[in-house]
C-alpha cells in the first residue's frame, strides 16, 4: 500500500516571496494529476493554524512547505517534531506547534513530519516573486519530486540529512 502523504503549505500569492509555498503546491498539484498511483493530499492556507492539526489525521508522512526568511538558499529540509513552543507568531502556528496541537487534541502521536523551507527575502504586498526565489522554487520542486518518488520516512530522513 502506498504511503499517505499530506503536503501542508502556506503563503500569500500576492506578497512577493511569500508566494513560494502556494507556487510549489500548484506545480506539484499539476504533476500529481499524472501520478494516480500516489496518495498525496494537498492542503493550502495563508498560514499554519490550529485546525491544520486535524488535517494530519491518518497521514503516514507530513511535509510542511513555507517560505523561510532564515533558511540558507535555496531551501532547507529538516525533520521536525511536536514542540510546546510559544512561538509568538501572532495569528499563526509554527509547524512544531501544529504537531503538538495534533497530539493534544487527538491523543495520538502525529505522523512523522518534515519542513521544506524555501528561502525568501521580499514579502511586500503586491510585489512579484523575486528572481532568486523563483530559482529556489525550481530546485525545491526537484527535491519534492524526489521525496514523493520514495515516500518512506527513512528515505526522507536520508535526504534531510543531506541538507
Amino acid at each position: 500500500m502506498t504511503a499517505r502523504v499530506v503536503l501542508l503549505g502556506c503563503g500569500n500569492p500576492s506578497r512577493g516571496d511569500d508566494a513560494l509555498g502556494p507556487a510549489l503546491l500548484a506545480r506539484i498539484g499539476s504533476w500529481l494529476n499524472a501520478r494516480p498511483d500516489l496518495d498525496v493530499r494537498i492542503v493550502e492556507d495563508f498560514q499554519f493554524q490550529v485546525e491544520h492539526a486535524l488535517d494530519l489525521a491518518d497521514a503516514d508522512l507530513v511535509l510542511f512547505i513555507d517560505a523561510d526568511a532564515s533558511a540558507d538558499a535555496p531551501f532547507c529540509l529538516r525533520r521536525t517534531k511536536p514542540e510546546r513552543d510559544a512561538s509568538y507568531t501572532t495569528h499563526e502556528l509554527s509547524p512544531e506547534a501544529v504537531l503538538c496541537v495534533a497530539r493534544e487534541v487527538t491523543g495520538r502521536e502525529p505522523p512523522p513530519a518534515w519542513v521544506l523551507g524555501l528561502r525568501g527575502e521580499r514579502f511586500e504586498l503586491g510585489e512579484p516573486m523575486s528572481p532568486a526565489a523563483a530559482g529556489h522554487l525550481e530546485v525545491a520542486l526537484d527535491e519534492l519530486l524526489e521525496l514523493l518518488d520514495d515516500p518512506r520516512a527513512s528515505a526522507w530522513d536520508a535526504r534531510a540529512a543531506g541538507w
Binding site: D18, F46, L54, D85, Y88, V105, F123, L125, G126
Partner: protein, 498 residues
C-alpha cells in the same frame, strides 16, 4: 478626549521603552512608552509599522477581479474583504439587492467567518492570558499549554474553527482564494447534500458556543482585572438593521456616544465619508478616523464586538439575545466600556453566528439556484460590512474601461486605531506608572491591544520573522537595557550598553 499622554511636553528628556512587535497580533506593531526617572508614563503610542499599500494594490485592476484579489490583503479575514468588495462591486453593476438565495449564501459565509475568527481569538489568542493570568510565566501563555491544561475546551475551539471554515469551503467551493461573490450575486449554489452535512453539526456548535460564553463570563467575573483593566469612555459605531437589530452584513450606520446617546442613526453607508474623516498623524502609518461632527479630538470611536453589543437594540437569535441582555445588565443598562468586555461580546457574537448558521441552513432559499441579479452600470461603489474585528469599508471608483482608478479602504483595525492607543495609555498609566518594568507588566499592554484582535498587517508570515524585543533607550538615543522574547517564549535580558 484624545491627547492625554499622547504627546509628552519634553520627550527628549525621557526614557523610551519599545515593545516590538506585539505578540499574537497579526503583523508588526510596536508600543513606545516614554518614562521619566520615576518610571511615570509621559507618552504612550501604538505604532503600526506595516499597514499600507492596500489602495495601490487594488488600483489598476478590472473591477470584477477585485473581490478575489482583496482576499490576499489579510490571511486572517479574507472572507470579510471578499464580502465588502463584493458589495461594492454589486453597486458598480447597479445592484443593491441580491436574489434571496444569493444574499443568504453571503450571510451564511459571513457567519462561518465570524464563527471561525471569534473561535480562534478566544480559544487561541486570548485564552492563555485569561486562563493563566496576565502575570503568569510567559512560556505558559500559548495555545499549546491551554490544550495541555484544558484539553476539552481547546478541542472545542479547534472544532468550532474548523466548522466555520467548512461553511466557507462549501459556499465558496474552496477553502481559500474562493470566488463566491461575483458582480450581482454568487458563483455557486449550495447543494442539498452540502446543506445536510453542515446542518448535522449545528446543534453541537451552538452548544459549544453557549458554553464558551458562560466560561468567559465566569473568568471575567472572577478576574480582579476586569472592572478596572483598560476602562475608558468612547463613542461606538456599527451597522444596524432597520428595526435596530444587530446586522453583520448590511444595514445603516449607527453611532452612540459614551453615555449611549445617538450621534447618528441609520445612515446610508454609501455616504460614510459625509460622517467620517480620516486624520493623518506624523508618527503613524495608519490613519485615525473620527466622526466629523464631533471633531478629531472627541470624534474617535470603537468598532467591533463591544461596539456592536453596545449599539444594537437586540439580537435576532434567542440564545445570543438572552446573553446580550445579561451583558447589558452588567453595565446597568448603560454602555460597557471595559476593554476585557470585548471578549465577552465576541463570544456572544460567536453564539449568534452559530444560531444564524442553523437558521440559514433551515431556510429553503439556501439551496436555491437563482444567484445573479443585473442592473445599470455605475462608476462608483461602496461596500460595508461588520467584519469580526469591526466595521469594514471598501470604496472604489472605476473608469469607462472598468479599471479601478481609486480605492479607499477603512479596515476595522484602522477604525479602532485611536481606541487602541487609548487602551494602551489607560493600561500603561494604571499598571506601569511607578513600577519596575517586567515582562508581565508589559504583557498587560499586549493584553489590552489583543482584546481588539487587531490585524496590524495582513498575511505575511514566513518562518523565522517574528522576534519580540523590548528596549530601554535614554534621552540621547542610547539603549540602556533590553528584554528579548525568543521563539520559545522565554525572555532574556540583554546587557546594558555602557
Amino acid at each position: 478626549m484624545t491627547h492625554l499622554l499622547e504627546t509628552a511636553a519634553r520627550p527628549r528628556a525621557l526614557r523610551r521603552v519599545a515593545i516590538e512587535p506585539l505578540t499574537r497580533v497579526e503583523g508588526h506593531g510596536k508600543v513606545t512608552l516614554l518614562l521619566d526617572e520615576q518610571h511615570r508614563v509621559h507618552q504612550a503610542r501604538l505604532h503600526i509599522v506595516e499597514f499600507r499599500g492596500f489602495e495601490k494594490f487594488i488600483q489598476g485592476r478590472p473591477y470584477w477581479e477585485v473581490p478575489v484579489l482583496v482576499q490576499r490583503l489579510c490571511g486572517i479575514c479574507p472572507v470579510s474583504h471578499h464580502l465588502a468588495a463584493g458589495k461594492a462591486v454589486d453597486m458598480l453593476v447597479g445592484v443593491r439587492r441580491l436574489t434571496p438565495t444569493a444574499e443568504k449564501l453571503r450571510r451564511l459565509m459571513h457567519d462561518g467567518q465570524m464563527l471561525q475568527s471569534h473561535a480562534l481569538h478566544f480559544f487561541h489568542l486570548a485564552s492563555p492570558d485569561l486562563l493563566f493570568g496576565f502575570d503568569s510565566e510567559p512560556e505558559r501563555r500559548n495555545i499549546v499549554d491551554v490544550i495541555g491544561e484544558y484539553p476539552e475546551l481547546a478541542l472545542q475551539g479547534v472544532k468550532l474553527r474548523k466548522f466555520g471554515q467548512e461553511i466557507i469551503r462549501h459556499v465558496a467551493g474552496k477553502r481559500i482564494h474562493g470566488s463566491a461573490c461575483v458582480p450581482g450575486g454568487m458563483n455557486k449554489a449550495l447543494t442539498v447534500a452540502e446543506r445536510d452535512a453542515l446542518r448535522r453539526e449545528t446543534g453541537q456548535m451552538i452548544a459549544w458556543s453557549r458554553d464558551a460564553v458562560a466560561i468567559c463570563r465566569r473568568i471575567l467575573d472572577a478576574s480582579p482585572h476586569a472592572p478596572i483593566f483598560g476602562v475608558f469612555p468612547s463613542n461606538f459605531m456599527s451597522l444596524i438593521r432597520a428595526d435596530g437589530a444587530l446586522d453583520m452584513y448590511d444595514g445603516g450606520l449607527r453611532a452612540r456616544d459614551a453615555q449611549g446617546a445617538l450621534i447618528f442613526d441609520h445612515v446610508d453607508y454609501t455616504h460614510y465619508n459625509r460622517h467620517i474623516h480620516e486624520e493623518v498623524k506624523s508618527w503613524s502609518y495608519m490613519k485615525f478616523p473620527f466622526i466629523i461632527n464631533l471633531g478629531d479630538e472627541d470624534g474617535w470611536y470603537r468598532v467591533g464586538p463591544l461596539a456592536r453589543m453596545n449599539n444594537c437594540d437586540f439580537l435576532d437569535t434567542p440564545l445570543a439575545e438572552s446573553e446580550r441582555q445579561v451583558f447589558r445588565a452588567a453595565a446597568n443598562g448603560g454602555m460597557q466600556h471595559a476593554t476585557l468586555a470585548y471578549h465577552w461580546a465576541r463570544l456572544i457574537e460567536m453564539l449568534h453566528a452559530a444560531e444564524g448558521i442553523e437558521r440559514l441552513l433551515d431556510d429553503p432559499d439556501i439551496t436555491g439556484t437563482d444567484l445573479i441579479t443585473t442592473g445599470e452600470r455605475t462608476l462608483e461603489g461602496v461596500g460595508v460590512i461588520e467584519a469580526p474585528r469591526g466595521t469594514l469599508f471598501h470604496h472604489y471608483k472605476v473608469d469607462e474601461n472598468d479599471v479601478v482608478v481609486r480605492a479607499n479602504l477603512i479596515v476595522s483595525t484602522t477604525n479602532n486605531n485611536q481606541a487602541m492607543n487609548e487602551a494602551v495609555r489607560t493600561v500603561a498609566a494604571t499598571y506601569l506608572d511607578g513600577q519596575k518594568l517586567t515582562e508581565g507588566l508589559l504583557n498587560h499592554i499586549e493584553v489590552a491591544v489583543r482584546a481588539f484582535d487587531p490585524c496590524l498587517s495582513c498575511a505575511t508570515h514566513a518562518l523565522g520573522r517574528m522576534p519580540l524585543q523590548v528596549e530601554l533607550v535614554d534621552a540621547a538615543g542610547q539603549m540602556i537595557d533590553r528584554l528579548t522574547k525568543g521563539a520559545d517564549g522565554l525572555c532574556s535580558e540583554g546587557q546594558a550598553v555602557p
